[in-house]
Symmetry: C2
């Protein structure tokens, strides 16, 4: 859990920094919020319920958060802190079978990230898509490093490559990120339809490989 980072800077609704007791209350409220987010739809989560589950009163909730949206935003920030691990993978080798391996592990890491923070990330994306600035900002915060390092890799490939250079690196990176995100959110619903997680990862990895390197993916483990 990457909680400690944000804990440091946590403040009261009036801007005052928090002591240890307050910190733990705040944490309980956040935990209650994820749990409810996990188990029911956003639309019918209420402050009362969060407070009840956290063993405290609604008034206390408002001491720390403006509304349910703000609590969710804080959770999204915590999730964003976990992404960097994915970024390092991108700097691996992108040649031949090794490249496919890199691609696969990125896909896999991304999906695992989503499975871990699913509910929060879903809400974060909806809010961002609906135009809420603060949520857009958190999403960018989480995705930017991924986009940047993907785009860099694509550029590298383009310079030494056979591949046609008419691909905008950043657009390609964005497309890949979009693919990863949506697939990660979606895969659970695909499995009952007969598409295994493995097949999905493999397909996604191939697409990524091809888009990054500009070459066709090598046949599976020869």
């Amino acid at each position: 859990m990457a909680t400690s980072t944000s804990e440091k800077s946590a403040v009261d609704q009036s801007g005052r920094p928090l002591g240890p007791r307050a910190l733990s209350t705040r944490r309980r409220l956040l935990v209650a919020t994820v749990e409810l987010l996990d188990s029911s739809s956003v639309r019918d989560i209420s402050v009362v319920e969060i407070a009840r589950r956290a063993g405290t009163s609604p008034a206390t909730f408002y001491q720390y958060f403006k509304d349910v949206g703000e609590a969710t935003l804080r959770l999204a920030e915590e999730a964003a802190a976990e992404v960097p691990a994915v970024v390092e993978l991108i700097d691996g080798s992108w040649r031949g079978q090794k490249g496919m391996e890199t691609s696969r592990s990125i896909t896999d890491a991304f999906i695992r990230h989503w499975d871990a923070y699913r509910a929060v990330l879903l809400v974060r994306n909806l809010a961002a898509d609906e135009g809420e600035r603060s949520f857009q900002k958190v999403r960018r915060l989480a995705l930017r490093p991924v986009l940047d390092s993907l785009a860099r890799k694509i550029e590298e490939s383009q310079s030494d490559a056979v591949a046609s250079g008419d691909v905008h690196p950043y657009a390609a990176a964005a497309a890949l990120a979009a693919l990863l995100e949506r697939l990660a959110a979606y895969h659970k619903e695909l499995e009952p339809i007969g598409v295994t997680r493995e097949a999905l990862v493999e397909t996604c990895a191939r697409i990524m490989y091809q888009t990054v390197t500009g070459r066709l993916a090598p046949p599976a483990n020869g």
Copy 2:
């Protein structure tokens, strides 16, 4: 607008079919719902507000819909009725420059579809991702034809192709659909960052082309 189809079968909350006056009231309520969906976040849309905007009372709303969720579901059903147009494009040629053209127009059509129904589709996807069965069903209804015909095309390409056959057609189709969906939801936020809609469409089209045909995309209109 594809409203007439669903209008026919519209019923009261108690299952009774609707007369003309009721039909028009129901429509006004649905219109008010989209408008609010377009202009504010799902979380703070209320029945009262919908009723106000439709020039009627909350009690009337409940005559037609169980809650805001159901109204949204009906709207999602109407959006789903528009998708088939996209499907026909998939049956076009996938060879060389023509293939890229096909791919581009699919991407373009998909994005336009999303721009037209954005708010509703966003909510539909969130609800589906959150596990609400009825919304999953509507999404499948809309996406199935696309998936099916994409998967068929991929299979065709595999039979006569050089390309390695270790791509699961349905998984690949799902990945493409995921890419299209996410990108369509996302593109507006990418433009300020310097990624034009055109670059996005082009990239997306190339990925689609490569995934469907198993060949590298031909260089742009060289």
